[in-house]
């Protein structure tokens, strides 16, 4: 008897299922004579992949994350497909933006995407448990023990009934991770999730985060400027190159992968 281990991003035939498939997506921003352009000639992210986007601030990481989290409308779209499940039909994000169907994009976010913000982004008036459960509550999901399980794994179980302001910054960040994962999204997007923590705590929380994502088979896109320990976590590094015009009038970042 043999056991076949299937990588979550691959089908039985070994073909990859692409959660993100972008071609010629461009976002241009202009401000007082200087322009910034992010160009994505081609980007393919498979289900279950763990992606790292590492670079200094201002290089366009956030712009890319905003577009991938469907909160920022690209200036030009060749094509932008999102396939959150193996069996699902790919969703044409480009068409939703063109028809300005913001509520559909919102529904997609609610159902498929989890976010870990730089500084928690917890609602101060909800307890830790309610914060973690918020994404589930909005989807009418019944309690299946995942909230408690996550709280256990994240080491915050004893804080479940406290309000966020009673927790340390690191603990709050753990709560934020819990909330991003609690509704079992297809993808978790994290923008500098450990930037506000000291290096030791940052590394510990980052490892925990990646462990949990692996366990739940969730695709992850992580932006960070601290690449040292990221390398050890086995994430795929997303290539990007930035070049500036000599007169400083134009900065362009090209991302592909």
């Amino acid at each position: 008897m043999t056991t076949t281990v299937i990588h979550p991003g691959a089908t039985l035939t070994g073909e990859k299922v692409l959660i993100y498939h972008l071609r010629d997506v461009v976002k241009t921003r202009e401000a007082e004579g200087s322009a910034f352009r992010l160009r994505v000639p081609s980007l393919q992210i498979a289900l279950g992949e763990k992606i790292a986007l590492i670079g200094e601030s201002g290089c366009g990481k956030s712009t890319l994350l905003d577009m991938l989290s469907m909160t920022l409308k690209p200036s030009n779209i060749g094509s932008f497909r999102f396939r959150p499940e193996r069996g699902a039909e790919p969703v044409d994000i480009s068409a939703l933006w063109q028809k300005n169907q913001l509520n559909k994009l919102g529904d997609l976010r609610r159902l498929r995407i989890g976010y870990v913000m730089q500084t928690g982004g917890l609602l101060p008036y909800l307890t830790v448990r309610e914060n973690i459960n918020l994404s589930r509550r909005l989807l009418d999901m019944q309690d299946d023990g995942l909230v408690d399980e996550l709280a256990n794994d994240l080491g915050i179980h004893r804080h479940l009934n406290k309000l966020p302001h009673m927790l340390s910054v690191g603990e709050r960040q753990r709560v934020a991770i819990g909330r991003a994962l609690a509704h079992r999204p297809a993808i978790v997007i994290a923008d500098e999730p450990t930037a506000s923590l000291d290096p030791i705590a940052a590394e510990r929380i980052m490892s925990l985060f990646i462990e949990l994502v692996d366990e739940l088979h969730i695709t992850v896109i992580l932006a960070s400027h601290a690449w040292r320990h990221i390398n050890r976590l086995g994430l795929r590094h997303l290539e990007h190159h930035t070049h500036r015009e000599a007169d400083g009038s134009m900065t362009e970042t090209v991302v592909s992968g």
């Binding site: 905003d66 909160t71 919102g106 976010y115 913000m117 730089q118 994404s135 909005l138 309000l163 997007i189």
Partner: protein, 403 residues
């Protein structure tokens, strides 16, 4: 959609409760505007209301009194009685002949009283027994006290005249069938059947009164005329048309129309003053609430963007500040109502001795509380809608990072 509206209510409520200090300040600020307004309106409604009520209730305000004397026969009186504006009319005999000296067993002195003609439906004798024949009378409270008599007692009435050069006095036994309220007639008086007055007038004029066996000239077939009458209209609003109609006939009349007009215009003017104050107060409150909610959206930008990020729609985010201002409106109204109830209870207690039974100085109807709630809710929601619109413009991506 409906389900997530429930979530917005839950979240807005939790936020409101979590910031209870801030929320209480707004509730108190609203109550500080609304409470005094309710008290002011309660006073206006209570005082002017009972003044108007008194005007309507008090039959004297429905009275139309002819000035001087005329000559009215019974046919003319009956014709007037047929008019629907008229509640009660009865002819009067000459005032100089309409007195009678009364003497009771209990009191030594003789009391001379005015006789007032009465009949069924007399508004001054509401809920009192009406004299049915010429041997029954209803005494005014003052006369009854001076004579020390009560309902059911018999008293002696006497009339005097100079007839053919001699002084004559006749006596008649009268039964006190009731005592009128003090307010009905404040002097010494007796409400009597018209025929007793006619008998007294006849006797004094030297005519025979067969029913009492008093002698005099025989005038059986002579048509009687009356110099005056007592007239009450159905309501205070009928006073003006009836007095106009009488004046057209050349009859000068006296009414309390001027008093009625004063109270009615006072009601209108006080209402105007009240609404001006209410308008200024509510506008001021709306602006301060609107400004704070507007600032709240800035303060809670991050939290609102988190809500957008987790998938709340634009139309749902608007409800966040709107609901919170509705909470403020409701609790502010509740507090103001409690303040009002406490203060009005105190005010009414203070004036208890000066008011008649069932009269209150400070009074609001349930409808008034409802109107206050709706007005407050309305102005708060208008104040919040701008902030709601601003909240809806919060971009979901703002929540992803520090700005």
């Amino acid at each position: 959609m409906r389900h997530r509206f429930k979530d917005i209510i839950w979240l807005a409520g939790r936020d409101y409760r979590n910031e209870w200090q801030m929320s209480s300040f707004f509730i108190i600020a609203l109550a500080a505007v609304l409470g005094p307004m309710m008290i002011l309106y309660g006073l206006k409604f209570g005082i002017v209301g009972s003044m108007l009520n008194n005007l309507i209730e008090d039959p004297r305000n429905r009275e139309v009194r002819p000035i001087g004397s005329g000559r009215y026969d019974s046919a003319w009186i009956e014709q007037l009685q047929a008019r629907e504006e008229i509640d009660f009319i009865v002819p009067r005999t000459r005032a100089i002949a309409a007195t009678i000296d009364l003497k009771s067993q209990a009191a030594k002195r003789i009391v001379s009283v005015e006789m007032i003609p009465t009949g069924p439906g007399d508004p001054l004798l509401k809920a009192r027994t009406i004299p049915e024949n010429l041997r029954q009378i209803v005494l005014s409270e003052k006369a009854a006290q001076r004579l020390k008599v009560k309902t059911g007692d018999e008293i002696n009435g006497s009339l005097s005249r100079r007839y053919k050069g001699r002084s004559e006095r006749v006596h008649v036994t009268l039964q006190v069938v009731d005592v009128a309220r003090h307010a009905s007639f404040t002097r010494d008086g007796a409400f009597t059947n018209l025929s007793l007055l006619e008998a007294a007038e006849d006797f004094r004029d030297g005519r025979a009164v067969p029913v009492f066996g008093w002698s005099g000239t025989n005038t059986a077939n002579k048509e009687r005329t009356y110099p005056s009458f007592r007239l009450y209209t159905r309501s205070i609003y009928d006073v003006a048309p009836i007095s106009d109609a009488l004046q057209k006939l050349g009859i000068e009349v006296n009414t309390r129309a001027a008093d009625i007009d004063i109270v009615r215009s006072m009601d209108q003017n006080l209402s105007l003053v009240f609404w001006l104050i209410a308008l200024i107060g509510l506008i001021g409150f709306s602006f301060s609430l609107g400004a704070s909610l507007w600032a709240n959206v800035d303060r809670k930008r991050k939290e609102l963007s988190v809500l957008r990020l987790v998938g709340f729609r634009t139309g749902e985010i608007i409800w966040f500040p709107v609901l919170q201002s509705a909470f403020t409106a409701f609790f502010g109204w509740l507090t103001a109502s409690l303040i009002y109830l406490a203060v009005s209870f105190t005010i009414n207690g203070l004036f208890m001795s000066q008011t008649e039974d069932g009269e209150t100085i400070c009074r609001l109807l349930p409808d008034h509380f409802l109107v206050a709630l709706l007005l407050t809710l309305g102005s708060s929601i208008i104040a919040a809608s701008l902030a709601g619109y601003r909240a809806a413009s919060v971009e979901p991506s703002e929540g992803l990072r520090e700005i």
